[in-house]
């Protein structure tokens, strides 16, 4: 029954992240919600790649057994890197907004309308 646990946690993390983005009013907390969604997707990716009893595909003095193709692990690493870039960009936007508006409250950062 614990086999599905990582998938359930991944889905929970995504839902939690999206909820955070919707209900929090602080821009930095909204970005934290986005980071939660990203963590959930990463967890889903690595748990899909897990094979019980498989060994890492490193050929130097490898033990006997089935090697696991590391595609999803590579995807996860890529997504982590992309996530860092995105979060940095978003946080720098918030910095500029705070400097210009004097607030990071999403209710008050609303000069665009219509």
């Amino acid at each position: 029954m614990f086999f599905n646990l990582p998938f359930i946690v991944a889905a929970l993390l995504v839902i939690l992240g999206i909820t955070t983005m919707l209900i929090k009013r602080n821009l930095i907390k909204m970005i934290m919600g986005l980071a939660l969604v990203e963590a959930g997707v990463n967890l889903l990716l690595v748990s899909i790649g897990y094979r019980a009893g498989g060994i890492a595909p490193i050929f130097t003095s490898a033990p006997d057994g089935v090697m696991v193709m590391p595609t999803v692990q590579a995807m996860t690493l890529t997504n982590i890197v992309i996530g860092i870039a995105t979060t940095a960009l978003l946080l720098s936007f918030v910095m500029v907004i705070y400097r210009m508006y004097g607030t990071a409250n999403a209710e008050k950062v609303r000069k665009l309308r219509g």
Binding site: V14, I18, M21, L27, M30, I31, L34, V37, E38, V41, L44, L45, I48, T71, V72, M75, T78, N79, I82, A85, T86, L89, L90, F93, V94, V96, I97, R99, M100, Y101, V109, K111, L112, G114
Partner: protein, 524 residues
């Protein structure tokens, strides 16, 4: 020898040229601004040349497949892999080549225009580098044959786009628009990745052709389809996920807005690729087709009704962009709804799809042109408010001519290109469902009404004292706009030639799922 090497590696060059160009741009910019501008234009010209060559290759010899890192570009399936293409593969069919051509044409116009329009702002090194990176993102999305690769280019597209939207800080308002765009794009990108993970978990592959050949349309696939459609339709700016478009389009520098339109269409291409190539006949095409049609009709109608009361000229044009996206969704959606029925497909389905696809390139041209004219007006007057503008017809004659061309094209008046594609959509959709065609025509009339109003308030009337010293914009901006106007007129005067040359193969490539799979997996 050299030439052969070049022709063999066109799909890789299509990305390598602008990417290298983007990263070298700031280095050259440290030495001299003039050299950097020259370099950026040269890179864009080279990219366009590669895109033209690639399109010619695709049209003459069918889908071009390029395997990265393999001994030869067409060795898609390594001998010892058990029939699975492990490497990243680019599969450029007629549809992808068509999109790449459209993107690089608009890119060149934007680049020329930027030479003058960006001169007043700081941080130009970053501006040109990001502009080229945005082009890389768009070209990558339309060329790749790999789902994860698609996601990576989608993120490049979003990040470069968001940074450019925010680049003219404008007391923080532009940054607010950039933040909105970046947050939504990232969330959309993560949804796409989630869907890719679901597909990989079931089929053990990332290659679009492999997944398509194994597609079973299980409940998990349906969840993945919904996630992909929601995320990509949001990036394409379709109602009801359109709320970021007016903010991002109006606050970005005008040159960038013209390119953002193409970036949105790359996501639209993603929608079409997913439903036609990835899922194809396995999905309930009538239902999904109708969903796309309804999204299209809503986009058309909501977009144009929101556009009419706008006071900010770029915001108004942004809502029209939402509205025009609806035409493309409508045309291609009708094609999807009759996908399984060869007879209906022959009677009107294919023509509807051709109309929708033709509208993509036409929209990129005339909407790009309109945003550039709005930028020209802002460049000289410093305002985008329609109530403050007036009488500019006396001093900005070229801009006025370009604006008229763009406005008539978007309203679907002959002999401009908007008419050609809209006529194809009206005729075929009328056979499918007369009511939809009538809505499409009404929206066109409202569009015309809205642009007559804009034209009148910007250009007509007596010369206003506050704009007494307004002159025509510098030559590079005129050249950029002239390039796009020329294409608008050419495509409008010779629509049949364009359709035969580019559009029919593109629509055929979308429908022919088996051909796409065979070109990658080798007839298996």
């Amino acid at each position: 020898m050299m030439q052969e090497l070049l022709l063999q590696n066109l799909p890789a060059l299509l990305l390598a040229v602008p990417m290298l160009g983007a990263f070298v741009t700031p280095l050259i910019g440290r030495a001299s601004g003039g050299a950097r501008n020259l370099w950026a234009v040269a890179v864009m010209l080279a990219t366009l040349a590669v895109a033209v060559l690639l399109t010619a290759q695709v049209l003459s010899s069918g889908t071009v497949v390029y395997t990265f890192g393999a001994a030869a570009p067409d060795l898609t399936v390594p001998a010892d892999s058990g029939g699975i293409p492990i490497r990243i593969i680019f599969a450029v069919d007629a549809m992808g080549a068509f999109m790449a051509l459209a993107a690089s044409l608009v890119g060149l116009g934007v680049m020329l225009y930027s030479l003058a329009s960006a001169t007043r702002s700081t941080g130009q090194n970053g501006y040109y580098a990001l502009l080229l990176l945005l082009v890389v993102g768009i070209l990558g999305m339309v060329c790749t044959g790999d789902m994860f690769n698609f996601f990576v280019f989608l993120e490049i597209n979003s990040l470069a786009g968001a940074a450019l939207v925010a680049s003219r800080v404008d007391k923080g308002v532009a940054v607010e628009a950039g933040l909105k765009y970046a947050v939504l794009s990232t969330l959309g990108g993560l949804l796409v990745l989630f869907a890719i993970a679901l597909l990989y978990g079931q089929y053990g592959a990332l290659n679009i052709a492999v997944i398509a050949s194994r597609m079973l349309f299980t409940p998990l696939d349906q969840i993945a389809l919904v996630m992909l459609l929601v995320a990509l339709a949001m990036k394409a700016g379709a109602v009801p996920m359109h709320f970021w478009t007016p903010d991002a389009y109006s606050m970005a520098p005008s040159s960038i807005t013209a390119l953002l339109v193409v970036a949105s269409q790359a996501s639209l291409y993603g929608v079409f690729r997913v439903v036609f190539t990835l899922y194809g006949l396995t999905l309930d095409y009538a239902t999904i087709g109708w969903i796309i049609i309804i999204l299209g009709v809503l986009s058309m109608f909501v977009g144009v009704t929101m556009a009419i009361p706008q006071k900010d000229v770029k915001r108004l044009m942004a809502y029209h962009a939402v509205s025009q996206t609806g035409y493309m969704l409508l045309g291609v959606g009708v094609g999807l709804a009759v996908l399984g029925n060869q007879q209906l497909l022959d009677t009107y389905g294919v023509i509807a799809m051709e109309g929708g696809i033709f509208h993509i390139i036409n929209h990129a041209m005339y909407k790009g042109l309109l945003f550039l004219t709005a930028g020209a007006i802002f460049y000289r007057t410093g305002t985008r408010n329609l109530n403050q503008l007036g009488g500019l017809g006396h001093s900005m004659k070229w801009t006025m001519v370009f604006f008229i061309i763009g406005a008539l094209a978007i309203a679907g008046i002959p002999p401009f290109n908007g008419f050609a594609s809209k006529l194809m959509i009206y005729e075929s959709v009328f056979l499918f469902n007369p009511l939809l065609a009538i809505i499409a025509m009404v929206v066109s009339i409202l569009t015309l009404a809205s642009f007559v109003k804009v034209f009148h308030s910007i250009f007509m009337g007596p010369r206003l004292p506050e704009y007494a010293d307004v002159r025509e914009v510098p030559a590079p901006m005129i050249i950029g706009m002239a390039l796009l106007s020329l294409l608008v007129i050419l495509f409008g005067v010779f629509p049949q030639e364009v359709v035969d040359l580019l559009i029919t193969p593109a629509a055929g490539a979308l429908i022919d799922q088996g051909g796409y799979i065979a070109s990658v997996l080798g007839g298996a």
